[in-house]
């Protein structure tokens, strides 16, 4: 059956990851089935829980949507984490300095986040395009620069009235908080923004000349030049777009979740975005469901009868094992397909590289 192979390609790693998680739960002395129930209950079982899951989903989706753009351009934008943080800083700046009604503040903080993240992405891009600094190292380095900038601001110029503490700045004025409904923590605005972003990226990559050209740049820089594509400009634009979306995620982290600038405002959601995109095979259409699954695991795991930190690590393990298995299984299948020289072998779920040598 032709549909069985692609299905198996997804199912086998999922089953493997589940088996691994069950083993771990047994190790931790928990009943796996009870735990699974709690996980589902904890993530989508009530309006409050679902709202928490959606809150996590928003930032993951935004970071991942930006990463689709950079990965498609052949760029390993590991620096996405720093771009989220830069967005947080910029949004915090806007929230602290500008006063206005809620609607204006939403727009201004988001704009600030877009610019902050975009600039941070552009920085990695400039290093890559003009300084030949590999974006992996440049991005990682800039992430830590952003982290230490955050810490510096919290302890230094933006310190809490009275004593400086690494716990964060003073909360922002109420008007710059993303509005929520009732006691739920999720902001409808944030969900809409994230959904719009993922749809926009999907159509940009699929339906526009820009997206197509970006793919060409990512797959083969030299051919792209001969198609008359200004490749440097496209690489920089990819960094800016990817960074801006990550920055938007950073905005929502501080205006919709923390309501102040904290030392790690991103909550490592940028890094999670990378896992999501790897699992999605760099395709925008899979981002939303995978991110929802990841968010559900993250939120649901906190309901497990385990200590803090252990619970979240269990979710992390499940995510990590799943992505690892999908990668390894995809590589193994491609290898077998290559060995059998099947002309119409379907590409693995996750290509070895996002683009050509980029």
């Amino acid at each position: 059956m032709s549909w069985m192979r692609p299905l198996g390609r997804v199912l086998i790693p999922i089953v493997g990851a589940m088996a691994f998680a069950i083993l771990l739960l047994l190790l931790a002395g928990a009943n796996p089935f009870e735990a699974l129930g709690l996980l589902v209950e904890g993530s989508v079982g009530s309006a409050a829980n679902l709202s928490d899951t959606l809150t996590a989903w928003v930032t993951m989706v935004l970071a991942a949507a930006g990463l689709v753009v950079t990965f498609r351009a052949g760029l390993w934008n590991i620096g996405v984490e720093g771009q989220v943080i830069a967005g947080s800083i910029a949004a915090a700046f806007a929230a602290r300095t500008i006063e206005g009604p809620v609607a204006v503040m939403i727009i201004l903080t988001m704009l600030a986040g877009l610019i902050g993240g975009g600039l941070w992405g552009l920085l990695a891009g400039t290093l890559r395009v003009y300084g030949k600094v590999n974006e992996i190292f440049g991005g990682l380095g800039l992430t830590f620069v952003a982290t230490s900038l955050t810490t510096y601001l919290i302890i230094g110029p933006w310190k809490k009235a009275g004593v400086a503490s690494t716990g964060g700045t003073d909360p922002f004025p109420r008007d710059s908080w993303l509005p929520t409904i009732g006691t739920l923590r999720v902001s409808i605005v944030a969900v809409i923004v994230a959904a719009l972003a993922v749809v926009a990226v999907y159509f940009m990559m699929r339906g526009t000349r820009f997206g197509l050209r970006l793919k060409a740049v990512g797959q083969n820089l030299r051919s792209a030049v001969l198609f008359g594509i200004p490749n440097k400009r496209y690489l920089l634009l990819a960094f800016i777009i990817g960074g801006a979306l990550a920055g938007l995620a950073g905005t929502i982290r501080v205006t919709g979740f923390h309501h102040k600038l904290v030392p790690t405002p991103s909550g490592a959601h940028g890094y999670l975005g990378i896992l999501i995109v790897l699992l999605a095979g760099f395709q925008a259409k899979w981002i939303a469901p995978i991110a929802f699954f990841f968010a559900a695991i993250a939120v649901g795991a906190s309901q497990l009868p385990l200590q803090m930190e252990v619970d979240s690590s269990l979710g992390g393990i499940l995510r990590g094992v799943l992505v690892l298995f999908v990668l390894l299984f995809g590589g193994w299948q491609a290898r077998r397909a290559g060995a059998r020289l099947v002309a119409d072998a379907a590409p693995p779920v996750v290509p070895a590289t996002p683009g050509g040598e980029g």
Partner: protein, 490 residues
Amino acid sequence: MSLELRDIHKHFGPVRANDGINLTVEAGTMHGLLGENGAGKSTLMKVLSGFHAPDSGEIILDGKHIRASSPQDAIGHGIGMLHQDPLVFLPFSVIDNFLLQSPGGLRLDRRSARREFEEVCERFQFSLDPSASTRSLTVGERQQLEIARLLWLGARVLILDEPTTGISAPQRVKLFATLRALAEEGMSVIFVSHKLEEVEELCQRVTVMRQGKVVGHAEMPTPASQLVEMMFGAPVEVEAAQPIELGDPLLRVKDLSVEERLLSIEALSLDVRGGEVIGLAGLGGSGQNTFMRAVAGLVSPAGGEITLDGKQIAGLPYRDLLDVGIQYLPAGRLEEGLVQGLSITEHFVLSDPDTPFFVDWDAAAEHAARAVTANFIKGRADSNAEELSGGNMQRLLLAMLRPGLRLLMMEHPTRGLDIESANWVWSQLLSRREDGTAIIFASVDLDELLRYSNRILVFFSGRVISEVNASDTDVEELGFLIGGKVREQQ
């Protein structure tokens, strides 16, 4: 040391690079292995040197069957290979290159190795500084380093794969002298080339390969025309291109100079008129491609003027030149021309300058399907570029050319194509002349150059050493020119 290869088979995926090769090389001789690009020469030599494992076949050295399943085995048996691009390690010093994977104990004794290196170099009058960085060496010097190393390791069969690519004329003279000296010492030298001139100069026997098979052996001297026929098959009589009325002066290149790492072009001038076809002849890497890339704005010239229709275009990037009607098609169809992973439809969308921001994929697919049929591309609109054969890739590339071009430049328009595809390619190109498009193309196929060009420029080491009218010359003269025979000997 005598060497025999029996019934060697080697395929890469569906490509039969070597299909039942038999070859005998006598001790103390220089044996030429001729064939055009892609004939399977390099693969055969990589099999012999243990770089690739053959699918089947035997290697017999001095009457004994040997297994060269790894380069280490081959070196152990005294078979050493000098690769086309010398396989040296650029950041290392010369002496470290010399020593890498040499036999011996744990500790590197650079001092005594230096002595031995200098001895080998002295024997062949190589002047290499052992402590220099390998990156600072010219290609010719890197070859010398490799030859010295292989001889030091005790190579008795020396394979040279296209060794004259990218080296200067004096270095070539020195290389040939070295090879002659080695053969006199009883070594077997296998000289792989697609350059007739060099094989004639050097070898006692020649084996010719075509499309993965041996098509003949010859004792030298053999008339060049006979070797050419073996390499390319019997000349196919196609009516020569119909001459057409040339248009107004179109492209003017004046005193163009380009500096690249391996090659520089100096003071090159050329005038091209509308509808004219200019063939660029020369050994691979003699400057033909560099020249075209400079005109196309892909390499920035160091000096000189380039004008199109009287407008200065030197220094403009390729994407701007596209808009004034210049287009360039590279030899690496999948490496540089097409994009792996994108469909034929997507290629047409990419190549169309009038594509709107929002792509209408239905219309694009329809357009692509029509183009596929009209250009006899074997494939579907949704086939990915890498699924196409070489001939169909070339058809796709031609189908994507912009309409109303002023100047088309092409590297090796028909390389590796079957005759039918090759003829189709040229019929397409020639029909472009009607609109006044000028064509500049580089080729190593002398027949092609003579048949389709108005004028032929012969390149040698970055200079145009001769410019001839295609109607006033023949294969033999062109062959001599390409070999640099008219150059002023010092």
